[in-house]
Symmetry: C2
Subunit: 334 residues, 2 copies
Amino acid sequence: MVFPIKLDFFRYYCVLFLRFTLFLKSKHKYADEVLVIDKLEFLLALAREKHFGHAAEACGVTQPTLSAGVKQLEETFGVLLVNRGSRFQGFTPEGDRVLDWARRIVGDSRAMRQEVHALKHGLAGRLRLAAIPTALAMVETLTTPFRARHPAVQFTVLSRTSTEILALLENLEIDAGLTYLDNEPLGRVTAVPLYMERYRLLVAADAPLSDRESVSWAEVAQVPLCLLTPDMQNRRIIERMLRDTGVEPNITLESDSMVLLYSHVRTGRWASVMPARLATTLGLTDSDKLCSVPIEGPEVTHSIGLVAPAREPLTPLTAALVTQARRIAPSLLD
Amino acid sequence: MVFPIKLDFFRYYCVLFLRFTLFLKSKHKYADEVLVIDKLEFLLALAREKHFGHAAEACGVTQPTLSAGVKQLEETFGVLLVNRGSRFQGFTPEGDRVLDWARRIVGDSRAMRQEVHALKHGLAGRLRLAAIPTALAMVETLTTPFRARHPAVQFTVLSRTSTEILALLENLEIDAGLTYLDNEPLGRVTAVPLYMERYRLLVAADAPLSDRESVSWAEVAQVPLCLLTPDMQNRRIIERMLRDTGVEPNITLESDSMVLLYSHVRTGRWASVMPARLATTLGLTDSDKLCSVPIEGPEVTHSIGLVAPAREPLTPLTAALVTQARRIAPSLLD
DNA sequence: CTATCTTGATAGATATATCCTATCGATTGA
DNA sequence: TCAATCGATAGGATATATCTATCAAGATAG
């Protein structure tokens, strides 16, 4: 019975203290309500790290500095933004709203810097992208022509799950993503459809089923499979197809790495299921080692495309990427 | 007793590492590129005042402070933003772009504050509006029901020309405006049509034409008229109608004040042309002193409505006003 | 239940930034 | 030519930002 009382008392004390501090502050001469964008970045970092120390490190400052920054925000708004016990306990409702605006303002300020820089030095900088594993091979069709037009632009490409991509986008940690457009709610994003994902069986040339014109999902379910881990949407889609046949699939190996899956398929002991376009793009079927066999049955296709923030205007780099995506889309959509 | 030693060693290592990182990060220790929103406001003030001293006064700082603020912005971006000779000579192209972003960021930061405030204290604050003179009487139909719902909200309403309203809106000096929707290019705004402007002749009860069922534009052109000044779009519209009859209109008095026009019409020596709705809303025709006579001829109507920034989301106050406008619009559009 | 670790807050010191007043130099106008 | 206007600059007072070091309150492991 001691804890609740102490906790309540602590909170009460916090609120009282904050009010008192606010009262004192109002007498100070300057910076009554100076909003520094860097402090908003503190809030963003805190939102993704959920830890004052880690957030501080991410911002390149010490923990007391970040704590003070957040507290200053709370003082300017006159509201507690973060629920604190002995540790970070999430944001208050007001904090959530401020966080939303902070994302927008920080994004805009970055876009502003980038645009001015682009006016001076042409389109340059680093585009941060993330793609679902099965779309990784497609990134090239976007980046290669883009770089031909804008040689000064650099890329960072991460392999992530579809949900992670949306979260990264929301937190301004990436500029755009390549992911499914039609399965999960996308939220506030600009989407450019690029191609449809169709599935094929990938097997070694000397493995069973390799000489077939086509196979059924039921047959696929009976060979030892290596697939992506279940946190990937691609895996869930394929697994659904397999289970719909009534046969319990034989998924003997899973990984989050496409390279690992390939290397196993090459041994002839495993097979895998992957998007048709992926196999051909990588030229895996050019050698005589691997075959990709069409899978019969209901044509399940999933639209994959570029997602960027729904903000208007976009940063010059992101805008150029979206333009590039719109340009190549017709040649990909069969 | 092994742990403390290890811990100390770890901490020592951490500190060394941190120092090293900081050393690499910057030669200047702090604030290499700190963006303060207040400085962006300096830029907005400079854009509308076109004068360093006046802009400084508008921001509540001295001129050197504003000069330094602008210069700091220029240093952060590494570009000149303002063309200076011995005086303010406008913005550079980069300056114009920064100005555009500054408007957006400043607007968002205000909206953020307002929203947090609204979460704490309910919808409160001051709505800054501007309306064209002929729409002034209509403002009441918007503000009265609005205040009934949100009693804590205060209003500031300015009488301005339609072009001024758009400029004020652009510079965040007003939250919304009441103006013509279909005559001039509106730019980036949200528009809510409210009603159509139709014209009537306003005359004293004992003046010529007062007993007519209706009059023609040609007849109107022959009586001494008092109208708004030519910078008002309303005046230009009416004048066009009059000239189209081929008769040179007899505009013997012009003013930017509707009250002045009324007081002259009441003498019986002048007549005026005004929107039908305006006369009835003010109850001018209830007394026996004034009559409003329908004008025959081509039905020229001009749509009038509420304009607000095209930004999304709007500030809570502006959003509530737009909602209110949408609510009352059906009862106004006949 | 105790010892230890983790986490965020706080204190004190110092460097930095901000702002004001006063003044200057250049242009503009009379 | 002289005064007025405009924006830049210098110098000094003061607020602010950041660091290091440390603390106290949970959480955790033994």
